[in-house]
């Protein structure tokens, strides 16, 4: 059933006439034209579609658009602030923490959520926190290194989103 759904997307209010049962992933990619959020498995297993809902990592393929009513949704496109990359984005670049890049938005947003909960994670805590995000190219080592570097930079005073 079509209904009005309102939420904040990357800092700006949106109002949609939409079937509230549709998954957020497809509404983002089609109605809203934000294609940085990727489809990988459709069942919440791989993490390619991860977005932030009220700053927590959520699988957008498995959450309906009506479930984000009134909430703050951040996609990879919204992580940059005033033309400045987020420390995680910078660290992913500097550490070559990506190859084909398809899983990268989900990796970065999952890491964002992880660092928000635990700003000084150990190696094992990072690996555990990222465990359910899949990367086929095998960039895992550098993803962990990038998250460690970003954590360090963010602890040093850089603002976390």
């Amino acid at each position: 059933m079509e209904k009005v759904v309102q939420f904040t997307l990357n800092g700006k209010p949106v109002k949609l006439n939409v079937d509230g049962d549709r998954m957020l992933l497809w509404v983002l990619r089609t109605d809203l034209g934000l294609t940085g959020t990727k489809y990988g498995c459709g069942e919440g297993i791989c993490g390619a579609c991860t977005v932030l809902v009220d700053n927590e990592a959520v699988r957008s393929c498995s959450i309906s658009v009506s479930d984000v009513q009134g909430k703050h949704v951040t996609t990879i496109e919204g992580l940059e602030k005033n033309g400045k990359l987020h420390p995680l984005q910078k660290a992913f670049m500097e550490h070559d923490a990506l190859q084909c890049g398809y899983c990268t938005p989900g990796m970065i947003l999952t890491a964002y959520s992880l660092l928000r909960e635990n700003p000084k994670p150990t190696y094992d805590q990072i690996a555990k926190g990222m465990e359910h995000n899949l990367c086929r190219c095998g960039a895992h080592k550098r993803i962990i290194e990038a998250i460690q570097a970003a954590a360090k930079e963010m602890a040093g005073g850089a603002k976390n989103g």
Partner: protein
């Protein structure tokens, strides 16, 4: 025959690619200095294609001094968008930032066979460098004329030519290119045509560089095929058979037709539903009721090996030295082993996707493909149109690994665009991606080998079934040996595999290296000699001895493994690159679970263009290789693929990650070799040998699942 055409059509095999006339082509290229070159003859021969007669790639120095390279190769994560640009920057004496790559667009780039086989750097690199060198020579000649100085007094640096003794006498590349269209060819053997720089002169190549596509990829701006959404585009979902070989009996689409905005297309047995939202199309597809004739297939992942051996051809000699039969009689200890490999999926994170748009005569397709020109040929054949009416554009490709050389989704999208008159996107679901993958073939290797009294390898009799010849030949010093390949390589013939099979990252070599290096390890044990020492004793080539020593030193091979752990070693050659790997593993003796703790990998790939990029590829190979080694295996029954998502098909995860140490042997005097695949080939054997060291159990089948480890431990 029109001599003005860049390529002649070869109707004997496939259609050929770029067919516009030279005049049209040059008009499109614009002003500047243009160097045409032939990148990689070895690639072209593979496709049965006739090459464009004189070039298949070119570079341009434009009037603003910017350098652009046009090549049919594509970027799918392997990093050539960076390493190829590095080569050009160095040869041209320009900054890396001023070099752009235009890749894979069939309207802008000349024909190329595709991106696979770790060939871009090996075969495309040398002519690319020669083209850069040639362009630099042209620029120096022009500068000499303009500055009224002899060429040998001039220096080129950062896009500027100046008098070596008076820097104020200068002219930029852009100024030299202004208002001109100068076209040169690099012909014949590139080395004799234009002198490329010596290793000591290189400033950009050989230095670590960050990926050039990283910014787009971390901000979500990088476009993949599915991100292309032309006005009015519909998403299509296609009715799929429940098993391979099944045919449609009856279908009722009325349920789907009731959904608002859904368009149902029936074209013979081909049924699709389309909607402006992919999720609505998917929901509509679920409303279709269909009955299929499903052929009975009794094959599954367990009995497939008996089937494959039964239908195997007698085999072809790959190589033969001495007299194996005679040598067998001399051997005192003989080991006879059969090794098994299961079907493995490519499983790129981006499923196969294509967007097709037909406007008038012109068909444009954006596709996730490793072979845009192959896709173009298929579209031309399907539509029966002229080659110039089809353009295939590969945006960023979200992983390929050999799986995106088939372009089924492209034809589906074009078919539906034609039937509906609208732009159509076909993006496979994960389930479709598993079902219609061209899997790495299940394969068998049988090795019989023996030792002499003095502990030398007496003979080697090697038979590989369905993994092809890549990596089948051993590189040890064995006087009497035979290598025989059965079956028809990765593809298999009719009646062989129950579904499509094909090339998978370092095709065949993973299987061959697993078998060979396991067998060598068993021989070392039987001879009572340390596995590294045993290998050294039987190695002649310096390159291989070099990587083995380097790995052993870094790993600390001579130390004893900590309690409950084991060490393994494996060697291999792939795409011209020599690899030695060592691993430390821990085996849970109760559950059979294997945890790889540490991997050291040394690689000799000749001149390494981008060491950072090469290391990333090695790390990727090691991490991805853990999958086929420990867990990845396709289960199937009655023609159906039972693994349809990542819940049952397990890719390597963060918790699997060992400590990885990579070593690149600096060997700048040898031509660059492949880097995207070699390090993955040693993973099966290095882990199997380490598991043996830890438990005394010998694993002869990949993947080494916990159940197989427990079973092998029982057999000790």
């Amino acid at each position: 025959m029109d001599s003005d055409r860049i390529t002649e059509l070869d109707f004997s095999g496939n259609f050929s690619g770029l067919t516009m006339s030279r005049r049209e082509f040059l008009k499109g290229v614009g002003a500047g200095i243009i160097i045409l070159f032939l990148g990689g003859e070895a690639i072209a021969q593979r496709g049965g294609h006739q090459l464009p007669s004189d070039f298949n790639a070119f570079l341009r120095i434009a009037e603003d001094g910017k350098v652009t390279c046009f090549t049919g190769k594509i970027e799918m994560g392997q990093g050539i968008i960076t390493s190829l640009a590095q080569m050009l920057a160095d040869e041209l004496d320009v900054s890396l930032e001023s070099v752009s790559m235009v890749m894979g667009d069939t309207d802008l780039c000349p024909w190329d066979a595709g991106t696979f086989g770790s060939m871009s750097t090996r075969f495309f690199g040398p002519p690319l460098r020669a083209a850069g060198a040639k362009a630099r020579a042209v620029l120096l000649e022009l500068a000499a004329e303009q500055l009224k100085r002899p060429v040998d007094k001039l220096v080129a640096d950062n896009g500027v030519v100046f008098d070596g003794s008076d820097k104020s006498v200068r002219v930029t590349y852009g100024e030299l290119a202004k208002g001109k269209q100068i076209i040169r060819h690099v012909v014949n053997h590139p080395a004799t045509d234009a002198a490329i720089k010596k290793p000591s002169q290189l400033k950009v190549m050989g230095k670590p560089v960050t990926r050039r596509d990283a910014m787009e990829k971390v901000t979500g701006k990088a476009k993949y095929a599915g991100d292309v959404q032309p006005e009015g585009m519909l998403y299509a979902k296609i009715l799929r058979a429940p098993a391979h070989g099944a045919t449609l009996k009856t279908v009722d689409t009325s349920g789907a037709e009731k959904i608002k905005g859904v368009q149902v297309v029936k074209d013979g047995d081909f049924i699709a539903v389309l909607h402006k939202y992919p999720d609505v199309a998917e929901a509509a597809l679920e409303q279709i009721r269909a009955d299929f004739n499903v052929p009975t297939s009794t094959l599954n992942e367990n009995n497939i090996f008996d089937h494959l051996l039964k239908v195997a051809s007698p085999g072809e000699n790959v190589s033969r030295t001495g007299d194996v039969e005679k040598a067998m009689a001399r051997a005192t200890k003989v080991i006879d082993t059969t090794y098994l490999n299961s079907y493995v999926a490519h499983a790129p994170m981006e499923p196969h996707t294509a967007v097709a748009m037909i406007e008038g005569k012109k068909t444009t397709v954006w596709a996730s493909t490793q072979s845009p020109f192959g896709a173009k040929d298929e579209v031309v054949r399907f539509l029966g149109c002229a080659p110039e009416d089809v353009r295939v554009i590969p945006p960023f490709v979200g992983g390929g690994f050999g799986g995106k050389t088939r372009n089924l989704q492209v034809i589906d999208a074009v078919r539906l665009a034609k039937l509906t008159g609208k732009p159509v996107q076909v993006a496979w679901t994960r389930s479709e991606e598993f079902f219609d993958d061209s899997f790495r073939p299940a394969a068998i290797v049988k090795i019989k080998s023996g030792l002499t009294d003095s502990g030398e390898i007496a003979f080697w009799d090697y038979h590989v079934y369905y993994a092809g010849t890549r990596g089948a030949e051993h590189f040890y010093d064995i006087p009497d040996s035979a290598t025989v390949s059965h079956g028809s390589g990765w593809g298999g013939g009719p009646g062989t595999h129950p579904f499509a099979t094909g090339a998978w990252r370092a095709p065949g070599n993973n299987t061959n290296t697993f078998a060979r290096e396991s067998q060598i390890d068993m021989m070392a044990v039987k001879a009572g000699v340390d596995p590294v020492e045993f290998r050294m004793k039987h190695l002649k080539e310096d390159k291989m001895r070099g990587v083995l020593s380097a790995a052993a030193k870094q790993f600390g091979w001579t130390a004893k493994p900590p309690a409950g752990r084991g060490y393994g070693v494996a060697l291999g050659i792939d795409a011209g690159t020599y690899v030695a790997a060592m691993a430390e593993v821990e085996v849970n003796k109760k559950t059979g679970a294997v945890q790889v703790k540490r991997v050291v990998c040394a690689q000799d790939m000749g001149l390494c263009i981008n060491p950072e990029g090469a290391k990333i590829q090695m790390e990727g190979c090691i991490t991805m290789g853990l999958g086929y080694t420990l867990a990845e295996e396709i289960h199937f029954k009655g023609g159906d693929i039972l693994d349809r998502n990542f819940d049952t098909y397990h890719l390597p995860r963060f918790s699997w990650l060992p400590k990885i140490e990579t070593i690149i042997i600096d060997n700048p005097n040898f031509a660059p070799q492949g880097g995207g695949e070699p390090a993955i080939i040693t993973m099966g054997a290095v882990v199997a040998n380490a598991v043996y060291s830890a438990t005394g159990a010998r694993l002869l089948q990949l993947p080494m699942t916990p159940e197989r480890v427990l079973e092998a431990m029982k057999k000790r």
